[in-house]
Amino acid sequence: MSIISKFAESYHLRLQRRRRRLRALRKRREVTLVKNRSSARRKDDIFLFSTVHNERHRLSYFLDYYRNLGVNHFFFIDNDSDDGTGEFLAAQPDVSLWHSEGSYKRSNFGMDWINNLLRKNAREHWCLIVDVDEFFVYPHCDTRPLRALTDWLDASSIQSFGALLLDMYPTTSLEDQEYLPGQSPFKTLTHFDSGNYTQKLNKKYGNLWIQGGPRQRIFFAENPDQAPALNKIPLVKWSRGNVFVSSTHTLLPRGLNKTFEDWGGEKICGCLLHTKFLPDLAHKAIREETRRQHYAGGREYRAYKAANGKGTILNHAHSKRFEGWRQLEDLGLMSLGGWA
């Protein structure tokens, strides 16, 4: 590539980054503050940012999981829930809460709101940006808190951390499950696909585009290129000027997307255990499809809806039962990448 076109491309991305940030700024009017407890934060606190919509029954386990890892403060945007999500969150001592009635879809799936909160609160902090059904797993997470990881990343001059979105599923059909608030979702969602992920490089943003897993296998077997992306960058040391482009798949400036090594070695990376397939999925698929607030018009939810109700079983003879991070590392779904 010539120098000129290289320059043009990076200028284009710079403009795009600015546009995203302005857009986030514009969208801040859609978001109103409910409760801000973030003033007591300390310089090296670890933050978590998330957008929620009617997730009341999932929240208590979610909060406990991340508190246990060492998240110091939570920033939530409640997108117009009516199941008590807002009230529950507002009562938590380590949560700051915003409320938005705006359209999830037109706010770039909540990313505009999150970008704005990050801009205002996250500078120079390590931040996890995850959905309520995503559980972060990293090397040594059973013995070392998040702070050990972020300290090591700081010492290694690494500012972003990649994770594969790993869909967890039950052994029986998706409809036969029960889930009670506070319960670990991994009591029911015990299995995963260990080796059917494909990747390609997105030249424009320099990130990997990873697809595969049970969702591609079952719901997108005929049009696999439309299967959801599983590459995520959930942990970022936030700097002024950073911005998420599409969900947590892509960041700008694009150097942050290079969570992989391209000359043979492995960079440290983790997994996000995805608990989408909890029993409420069947109801949720109907609800979300009517709401049409998701990526590509809720195509994913439509696919689930079509398959659900027929006794969908994702489990198969080669499914692996989840045993812990070391198993995922051995299987090659994540990597120690030099962290002994």
Binding site: A155, A221, F260, L336
Partner: protein, 555 residues
């Protein structure tokens, strides 16, 4: 004689205070140097927290910068302080603020008591060692480094390049024979005094001031001029990764550190409270066994070379840079065998221990072993998913079967794209029967001459294409090509070869062969309807087997 501990402290002063208190209570002399960059209030707080330990020595503070002479200066300040104030200090052990004693201090004291006058300093000649991980070698001594590596990296790198290009080398002064080693030494009083009182010290200091990372070479070099007995090892255990970053120890390293044959270790994570609690309390004397470095080495290996043939969020090797092969392990591919041997898969299963998959790259769907709809690792049987990235599909399957090995059928009418990939992959072992498809066609008993002609011609053309590709320079695979005639007359040799390196010794029971009695007639019929059959391929001459890096069985 009482050993003295010199501590270079920068951060986490609470932890440093804990270590100092412990060592001082154990009867060791302690001298502390606190980085001048630590703000006055934090320094004063730290100092007053240790005010009950009046015998602690405080060295003159300098502003420390990693990689520069200031660290040597700080160390010299501490050494001078100790030599002047503690006339009965026999040894000085240098530690960092993030070190911990991992054996009882009494053991350390008695060890040095038994080794009076011995200098424990890692000191090796530069060049013939693997000591430096990820950094400059002899150039540390011959170039100059006016820029900060941490804050002015770009200028640092440019200036190094400029000096290399212009061959700007500094002269190494007489009396300096460059040696290098761990910063954390334990020197005897005699040697330390000799270094400090050397008449040429001012000249040496001026020289080392411009060297890179002199804390790993100043004492290591000068000790060689004065010491009587050097034991070239450090009494402090530390490890560097390939980027020159020290390995950090956490609570889960307790057992590991327990086994280390050294008196101290670094670097300890400041929040590893289990480590601090355990090692800053009375320890039993315990026999040391060899520590298991496997965990550390695995992590280093992951970062450096990674697992070949694995593609994931942290590893996406550039096609041209993948060192050897895009796949993880060797695998075997069979073409034409199913047509010749009716129970080939069973036979393979018993003789090689691996039952081969069917035609993984058949156009209609993926044919996994035993007609399974899902393969190892959750690979989908959908042709659409496979065809989205067939190379990825194969790499994944090789990775997923890395414990047992992969064998599969690939017929010439299958996905052509993957054919090229197989030819280029050094891990592929191709076993190819030319015109094997004829038997298949014969036994299908096709009446329609038009269909027969088209199919046969297509097969001949595809076969020719594969063979032409094979002669290209990009071919890296191992292959054996047999003609149908050879295999029919001498099946043993071809079959033996399909087993690869494994199991060549065991007696080979031949599998049942497809009925080929009508083959010559069939060839004539094909010729009569206009198909260009090369009859020599059906003859039994066994002289012209094509192989590349052929298997032992054939030699």
């Amino acid at each position: 004689m009482i050993p003295a501990i010199a501590i270079l402290a920068h951060h986490n002063l609470d932890r440093v205070a804990q270590v100092v208190r412990f060592l001082s209570d154990a009867g060791l002399y302690v001298c502390i140097h606190v980085d001048q960059s630590v703000p006055a209030d934090r320094f004063n707080k730290f100092k007053s927290s240790l005010s009950d330990h009046t015998d602690i020595l405080w060295a003159k503070r300098v502003k420390c910068e990693w990689g520069h002479f200031s660290l040597v200066e700080a160390t010299l300040n501490m050494s001078e302080e100790i030599l002047a104030e503690r006339p009965d200090a026999g040894h000085v052990m240098l530690l960092s603020g993030d070190s911990l004693p991992i054996r009882a201090p009494a053991e350390f004291i008695s060890f040095l008591h038994k080794n009076p006058g011995v200098d424990f300093i890692e000191s090796v000649v530069i060049g013939d060692d693997n000591w430096i991980s990820g950094g400059l070698g002899i150039e540390r001594f011959t170039l100059s480094f006016p820029f900060s590596w941490k804050k002015q990296r770009r200028f640092f790198d440019i200036w190094v390049e400029v000096q290399r290009k212009l061959r700007l080398n500094r002269r190494i002064p007489n009396g300096v024979r460059p040696h290098i080693g761990s910063q954390w030494w334990c020197l005897s009083r005699k040697t330390l005094e000799a270094i400090i009182n050397d008449p040429a010290k001012a000249q040496y200091d001026a020289y080392f001031r411009k060297c890179w990372i002199p804390d790993e070479s100043y004492f290591q070099t000068l000790a060689r001029n004065h010491a009587s007995t050097i034991e070239s090892r450090s009494l402090l255990f530390s490890r560097f990764d390939h980027q020159g970053k020290p390995t950090t120890f956490y609570d889960d390293h307790v057992e590991f550190l327990d086994k280390i044959d050294a008196f101290f270790a670094r670097k300890i994570w400041a929040r590893a409270s289990t480590l601090y609690e355990r090692f800053l309390s009375p320890l039993p004397t315990k026999a040391r066994t060899a520590p298991n470095l496997e965990r550390i080495e695995t992590a280093a290996h992951r970062r450096k070379t990674g697992r070949g043939g694995l593609y994931m969020h942290g590893r996406a090797p550039n096609q041209w840079l993948e060192e050897y092969s895009p796949t993880a392990l060797p695998y075997h591919v069979f073409t034409g065998f199913n047509a010749v041997f009716s129970e080939f898969d069973d036979w393979q299963g018993t003789h090689s221990g691996i039952r081969p998959h069917g035609r993984l790259f058949a156009k209609s769907r993926v044919k996994f072993v035993n007609n399974g709809s899902i393969g190892a690792g959750g690979m989908s049987g959908s042709a659409a998913i496979r065809d989205l990235a067939p190379e990825n599909f194969l790499c994944n399957l090789v990775w997923n079967t890395r414990e047992q090995g992969l064998r599969f059928h690939y017929e010439i009418s299958d996905l052509p794209k993957i054919g090229k990939f197989l030819l280029a992959d050094p891990h592929a072992n191709l076993h190819f029967i030319r015109h094997g498809w004829m038997l298949d066609l014969l036994n299908r008993g096709i009446e329609n001459n038009e269909y027969l002609r088209t199919t046969a011609t297509t097969m001949i053309n595809r076969e020719r294409m594969v063979l032409t590709d094979l002669e290209q320079s990009k071919t890296n695979c191992n292959y054996n090509i047999w003609t149908l005639g050879e295999v029919l007359s001498n099946p043993q040799t071809a079959l033996k070869a399909t087993l690869g390196e494994a199991n060549v010794q065991m007696p080979i029971i031949l599998p049942e062969m497809t009925d080929a009695s009508r083959l010559t007639d069939f060839a004539r019929e094909l010729k009569n309807i206009g198909v260009d059959i090369n009859s020599t391929l059906l003859e039994s001459a066994a002289a012209n087997v094509q192989t590349k890096n052929g298997f032992k069985a054939q030699k």
